[in-house]
C-alpha cells in the first residue's frame, strides 16, 4: 500500500473538501432554536447556504455581518453587533452561533469580546457560542467538530448524574441520525444525541412555515451532558483538541468511548456491543434479525461484490467506515482519499488494508485531479463518495455511488441511509446493483470483443501475418 500526503502543494485542482466555517454551520442546525451569523463578507454566508440548501433541499438561513471595505479597515464590531440585533428581531433564536471567516480572522476581530459587549449593552441573557473558523484554518470536517466542541464548552454545566448516554455524531445524513436514534430506542436507552439535525435538515412538509424548524438537541440536554454515565463519540479520526467528548471527559470526568461510524457489519457490531456494555441492555431480537438479513445480503451478493475495485473519498471518518465496509465485502479499495489533513486516518487505513490483495493508495490532503489519476491507473470500477466525485464517472467511466456531502446533482442527499445493520444492507444493495448495472450494460459487448472471431475477417488478418497470437485463435 502506498501513502501519500501532499502536505504542501501549489495548486488544488478540483477540491475534495470545503472550508472550515461551512462545516461549523451544521452542528448549529442540529441545536434547538439556534441561528448562525458569519462574521465577514456577505458572500461566504450565501455560498455556504446555497451549498447546504442544495444538498438537503431545505431553506438554510445563515446571517452575515456583511462587512465592506470600510469595516475591514476600521473593524467590524458595529456590523457584528447590528447583525446580532437584527437576527434576534427576525428569528428570536434561543442560542446564536458566531462563526468567523478568513476576513474576520485575518484582520484580528475578537468575536468573544464583541459578543460579550453586545450582550452587556443590551442587557440580554442569551447564549452566544463563538467559533473561530478561518477558511484557511482547516477543512469543513474540522469546522464541524470544532463547532460541536465550542457548543458543549459554552452550554454544558455541572450536573448530577442522570443515567443518560451522550451520543456525539459526526457529519452523517438526517436519515442516519434517525437510524441511530431508532437503535437506541429499540435498546431502551436514554440518550442525548448531539447534534441532532434529523428533523431540522429533513423536515416534513407542514404549515405554517417556521423560520427556525422544530427539533434539534435541546439546550437543557446539552447543559446536562456532564451528568451522563458515558459519552459515545462517533468518530475516531478527529483531533483531541476539537473533541467535545474529550472536553466532557477532562472537565467533568464523563468516560469517553470513541467508535467508528457504525456502517458495515463489524463497526455496527462494535457500536451495539458498546451500548450493551455501557447499559447492560440486551440486543433486541429485532436487531438480531436485521443483522442476519445483512449477513444474508452479503452472502447473496458476495461474488458480484468481489469484482468491485473501489475508490472511496470524503470526510475522514466516512472514508474509514466505508473502507472497512468495502473490505468486509471484498470490494477491495484501490484508493481511499480525503481532502483533510489526517494522520490518524492514514494510520488506521494502513492497518485495515493489510488484508487487501492489491495495492491500495491512501491519499490525504488531496484533490480530485490526484484521486482521478490514481483511480484510473488502478483500474477502479466503482466510486463511493459525494457528488464532487462526478468526474470519475463523467471522465473515467467509473460509476459513482453517492453518499456523504454534498449531493447536489441528485435529490435525496438528506435521506441517504448507510448506518446500522438495516442501513448497511440498503447501502450495500446500492453498491452491488451499481456494479451489476455496469456489468449488464457492458458484458455483451465486452465478451464479443474478447472472444468472437469473424472467420472471414480473421483469416484475412491472419493472412497479413499478425503473429502467433492471431494464428492461435484462428486455427
Amino acid at each position: 500500500m502506498s501513502k501519500e500526503n501532499a502536505a504542501y502543494r501549489d495548486v488544488n485542482e478540483n477540491p475534495c473538501n470545503m472550508c472550515m466555517p461551512m462545516g461549523a454551520i451544521l452542528p448549529f442546525k442540529g441545536v434547538e432554536k439556534a441561528m448562525v451569523i458569519m462574521h465577514g463578507s456577505q458572500g461566504c454566508a450565501t455560498y455556504m447556504r446555497r451549498h447546504i440548501a442544495e444538498h438537503f433541499n431545505e431553506p438554510i438561513d445563515v446571517a452575515s455581518s456583511s462587512m465592506n471595505e470600510k469595516d475591514t479597515v476600521h473593524g467590524g464590531e458595529p456590523n457584528l453587533k447590528k447583525g446580532l440585533a437584527n437576527i434576534i428581531k427576525l428569528y428570536q433564536p434561543a442560542v446564536i452561533g458566531v462563526l468567523t471567516t478568513c476576513l474576520a480572522e485575518t484582520i484580528g476581530e475578537d468575536i468573544d469580546r464583541i459578543a460579550g459587549k453586545f450582550l452587556r449593552e443590551n442587557g440580554l441573557d442569551l447564549p452566544i457560542v463563538t467559533v473561530p473558523t478561518p477558511g484557511y484554518g482547516g477543512r469543513h470536517t474540522e469546522g464541524y467538530f470544532l463547532a460541536m466542541k465550542k457548543i458543549v464548552e459554552s452550554l454544558a454545566r455541572p450536573t448530577e448524574g442522570h443515567g443518560k448516554i451522550n451520543v456525539l455524531v459526526p457529519h452523517l445524513s438526517p436519515a442516519d441520525l434517525r437510524e441511530i436514534k431508532r437503535i437506541l430506542h429499540l435498546m431502551d436507552i436514554e440518550y442525548t444525541l448531539f447534534p441532532d439535525f434529523s428533523d431540522t435538515l429533513d423536515r416534513p412538509f407542514e404549515k405554517p412555515y417556521k423560520k427556525i424548524p422544530d427539533g434539534g438537541t435541546r439546550l437543557a440536554d446539552i447543559a446536562a451532558m456532564p451528568g451522563a454515565i458515558a459519552t459515545i463519540e462517533i468518530g475516531v479520526t478527529l483531533d483531541e483538541r476539537s473533541s467535545a467528548g474529550h472536553y466532557l471527559a477532562e472537565k467533568f470526568g464523563v468516560p469517553l468511548h470513541q467508535v467508528p461510524i457504525p456502517t458495515g457489519l463489524e463497526f455496527t457490531d462494535g457500536f451495539l456491543k458498546l451500548l450493551q456494555q455501557l447499559t447492560g441492555r440486551d440486543i433486541p431480537a429485532s436487531l438480531v434479525m436485521e443483522r442476519g438479513r445483512l449477513l444474508d445480503c452479503m452472502i447473496d451478493a458476495h461474488k458480484y461484490n468481489f469484482q468491485g475495485r473501489s475508490v472511496i473519498f470524503g470526510e475522514p471518518d466516512q472514508v474509514y467506515a466505508h473502507s472497512q465496509f468495502c473490505m468486509e465485502n471484498g470490494i477491495y479499495p484501490v484508493v481511499a482519499a480525503t481532502g483533510s489533513k489526517n494522520d490518524k486516518l492514514a494510520a488506521l487505513l494502513s492497518e485495515l488494508f493489510t488484508d487487501c490483495p492489491h495495492e491500495a493508495a491512501i491519499l490525504t490532503q488531496t484533490d480530485f485531479a490526484r484521486i482521478r489519476a490514481v483511480s484510473a491507473n488502478g483500474a477502479a470500477n466503482i466510486a463511493i463518495g459525494h457528488s464532487d466525485g462526478r468526474y470519475l464517472e463523467e471522465r473515467e467511466g467509473i460509476p459513482l455511488v453517492r453518499v456523504g456531502f454534498p449531493i447536489h446533482d441528485r435529490v435525496g442527499g438528506q435521506r441517504l441511509l448507510s448506518v446500522g445493520y438495516a442501513g448497511t444492507t440498503m447501502f450495500l444493495d446500492r453498491i452491488t446493483n451499481t456494479l451489476l448495472e455496469h456489468k449488464y450494460r457492458n458484458y455483451r459487448q465486452s465478451m464479443y470483443d474478447q472472444f468472437y472471431q469473424d472467420t472471414e475477417n480473421c483469416r484475412s488478418e491472419c493472412a497479413e501475418g499478425r503473429g502467433d497470437e492471431n494464428e492461435l485463435y484462428c486455427s
Binding site: 504542501y8 501549489d10 495548486v11 488544488n12 485542482e13 478540483n14 477540491p15 470545503m18 472550515m20 451569523i37 465577514g40 463578507s41 456577505q42 458572500g43 461566504c44 450565501t46 455560498y47 455556504m48 447556504r49 446555497r50 440548501a53 438537503f56 433541499n57 431545505e58 438554510i60 445563515v62 446571517a63 452575515s64 455581518s65 456583511s66 465592506n68 471595505e69 469595516d71 475591514t72 457584528l80 447590528k82 447583525g83 446580532l84 440585533a85 437584527n86 427576525l90 471567516t101 478568513c102 476576513l103 485575518t106 484582520i107 478561518p134 477558511g135 484557511y136 477543512r139 423536515r203 416534513p204 412538509f205 407542514e206 404549515k207 412555515y209 423560520k211 481532502g339 485531479a369 464532487d388
Partner: protein, 463 residues
C-alpha cells in the same frame, strides 16, 4: 401602507428598499450594502466576477485564496462549450495559515508555472479573494511577471469579497475582459460588420440559439461575452461594429467602455419571452438600415411566432389568473419576466432583485400593476411574508430560494445559472411556459393546500 408596517417595525433600515406600487412616492432604495444580520440572498464580489468570466472555455480560472471560494464555484453552472472544457475545472492556490502569515505571492507564481506546464493555456484569470486583499499580495505584479515568463496572458481579477457587492464583481470581470481584448500597441483594428453579444453565458446553448437567429437575419455573431467564448474569439472583439447587451447588470459597464474606447455602439436587448425577443431582433435589424435584413428579420419573427403561438395559447388557457413572485439576480431578467408572464396570462404580485439598478426599478414600477410589492436585496423572511400575503402561486428564483418556495407549498421556476434547458428566444419562451405549467399544475399541490398541516395529514390518514 399596511403592507410594510410590520416590516418597518422589524428592521428599520430595510423599509426604504420595499415598496408597494401605487402607495409610495419616493424612489426605491437600491445599490447599497446589505444590512448586517438580515440574511441577504446576495453573494460577493468574487462570485460576480466568477459568474461573468467562468464561461471563457479555454482559460484557466485560478482562485488565489482559501479552498472554499474555489470549492463552492466548481462547475455549478450550466454554460456549454463547443470547444475546450478547461473552464469546468476548479483551480485554487488553497492558501493555508502559513501562506496567510508569510504572504501568498510565491505560491501563486509557482501555481501558475505548474498550470502552464500541465495545460499550456493561452489565458489565465487569477481571482483575488478576501484574504488576498487583506494580506496585500501584489496580484498585478505576480501576474505581470508570469505573463512575461510564459508569453501568455495572465490577467488579475480584483474580486476581493469585501470591496463591494456582486455588482463590483461584474465590474472587476469587465475590467479583466477589457485588458484581454485590448489590441497590441501597433495593431490596426480593421472593423467588420459583425456583432458582439454581451451578457449571455450560453446556459443550455442560449448563445447558439441567438447566433442562429442573427445568421438567418443575414448578420454574423462575432463573439459572445462570455458564453462559449475563448481566447482567440475574445481577441477579435474590437473588430465588431455593434454590441448588443442582454444582461445589462453585468455588462453595461463593458458596453460603455467599448463604446468610448473602440467606438462600438450598443443596444440593450433581451431574448426572454416573445415580445422582448421580437423587439430586440427588430431593433438590431434597424441599426443596419438594410431592407433585406429587415425583410429577413420579419420573416424570421413571423415564422417563429407562428410556430410557438398555438403552444403558448394552450399553456395560457391552463395558467390564466395565476399569480407569480419574482426574485432574481439582475434587473433585465426581472423586467423581461413581467412581460413573459403576461404572455401566458399570469400577473406578477411580488418582484425583487439582488442587484437591480435604479433605472431598472423605475421600469419595473412602470410595468407592474398597483399593489405589487417591489423589493431590493430581500431576505427569506421578506420573501416568505410577501409571497404568502400576496397569494403567489409560484416563485421564480435561484437555488437558495427554491426550498423556501416548496416549503411554503408554492411552485418554483429555476431561472438561474445551473438550469439545463434554454429560456432564450422562441424556443425558450415555450420551455418557460412548459416549466411554469409543469410546476404550477403538478398534482402534488392537491395534497398541500389548506390540508397541508400535520393535523389535517393525520385526519387524512385516519379517514
Amino acid at each position: 401602507m399596511r403592507d410594510t408596517e410590520r416590516l418597518e417595525a422589524a428592521i428599520e433600515e430595510r423599509k426604504d428598499s420595499i415598496q408597494t406600487k401605487g402607495k409610495q412616492k419616493q424612489q426605491l432604495k437600491c445599490d447599497t450594502n446589505s444590512v448586517a444580520g438580515c440574511v441577504s440572498q446576495r453573494a460577493c464580489v468574487y462570485c460576480g466576477a466568477r459568474v461573468v468570466l467562468n464561461p471563457v472555455t479555454d482559460a484557466i480560472h485560478l482562485v488565489h485564496g482559501p479552498i472554499g471560494c474555489a470549492s463552492y464555484t466548481w462547475d455549478i453552472r450550466g454554460s456549454l462549450t463547443s470547444g475546450s472544457d478547461l473552464y469546468r475545472f476548479s483551480f485554487s492556490t488553497d492558501l493555508q495559515e502559513m501562506d496567510v502569515i508569510f504572504g501568498g505571492e510565491k505560491k501563486l507564481a509557482r501555481a501558475i508555472d505548474g498550470l502552464v506546464e500541465k495545460y499550456q493555456p493561452k489565458l489565465i484569470f487569477v481571482y483575488s479573494t478576501c484574504i488576498v486583499g487583506v494580506i496585500g499580495d501584489d496580484l498585478e505584479a505576480v501576474c505581470k511577471a508570469a505573463a512575461r515568463r510564459h508569453g501568455i496572458e495572465v490577467i488579475p481579477v480584483q474580486s476581493s469579497g469585501f470591496i463591494g457587492n456582486k455588482s463590483a464583481g461584474y465590474r472587476a470581470a469587465c475590467d479583466a475582459l477589457l485588458k484581454l481584448i485590448k489590441p497590441a500597441e501597433n495593431e490596426q483594428i480593421s472593423k467588420n460588420n459583425t456583432i458582439n453579444y454581451l451578457g449571455d453565458f450560453n446556459l443550455a446553448g442560449e448563445v447558439w440559439i441567438i447566433k442562429d437567429y442573427l445568421q438567418r437575419m443575414g448578420l454574423a455573431l462575432n463573439v459572445a461575452f462570455t458564453g462559449d467564448s475563448n481566447y482567440e474569439t475574445l481577441k477579435t472583439a474590437t473588430k465588431a461594429s455593434l454590441n448588443i447587451v442582454q444582461c445589462a447588470g453585468s455588462m453595461i459597464y463593458l458596453a460603455n467602455q467599448m463604446k468610448e474606447i473602440y467606438d462600438i455602439p450598443y443596444h440593450n436587448v433581451s431574448f426572454l419571452g416573445l415580445e422582448d425577443t421580437s423587439d430586440s431582433l427588430r431593433r438590431i435589424a434597424r441599426t443596419y438600415n438594410d431592407l433585406e435584413i429587415m425583410r429577413r428579420t420579419e420573416e424570421l419573427i413571423k415564422a417563429e411566432t407562428a410556430a410557438v403561438a398555438p403552444l403558448l395559447a394552450r399553456y395560457r388557457e391552463k395558467l390564466r389568473g395565476k399569480k407569480a413572485a419574482i426574485y432574481v439576480g439582475g434587473g433585465f431578467k426581472a423586467i423581461s419576466l413581467i412581460k413573459q408572464f403576461r404572455e401566458i396570462g399570469i400577473d406578477v404580485v411580488m418582484i425583487g432583485t439582488q442587484t437591480g439598478r435604479q433605472e431598472e426599478y423605475d421600469t419595473i414600477n412602470d410595468l407592474v400593476d398597483d399593489g405589487t410589492v417591489i423589493l431590493d436585496d430581500a431576505n427569506p423572511s421578506e420573501l416568505e411574508r410577501f409571497m404568502v400575503e400576496k397569494g403567489a402561486h409560484l416563485l421564480v428564483g435561484g437555488v437558495k430560494e427554491r426550498p423556501l418556495a416548496y416549503k411554503l407549498g408554492i411552485a418554483f421556476i429555476d431561472h438561474n445559472h445551473d438550469r439545463k434547458h434554454p429560456l432564450s428566444g422562441y424556443v425558450g419562451a415555450v420551455n418557460f411556459a412548459q416549466e411554469v405549467y409543469s410546476t404550477v399544475c403538478s398534482p402534488v399541490w392537491k395534497y398541500t393546500g389548506e390540508g397541508g398541516g400535520l393535523d389535517e395529514q393525520r385526519k387524512c390518514c385516519l379517514s
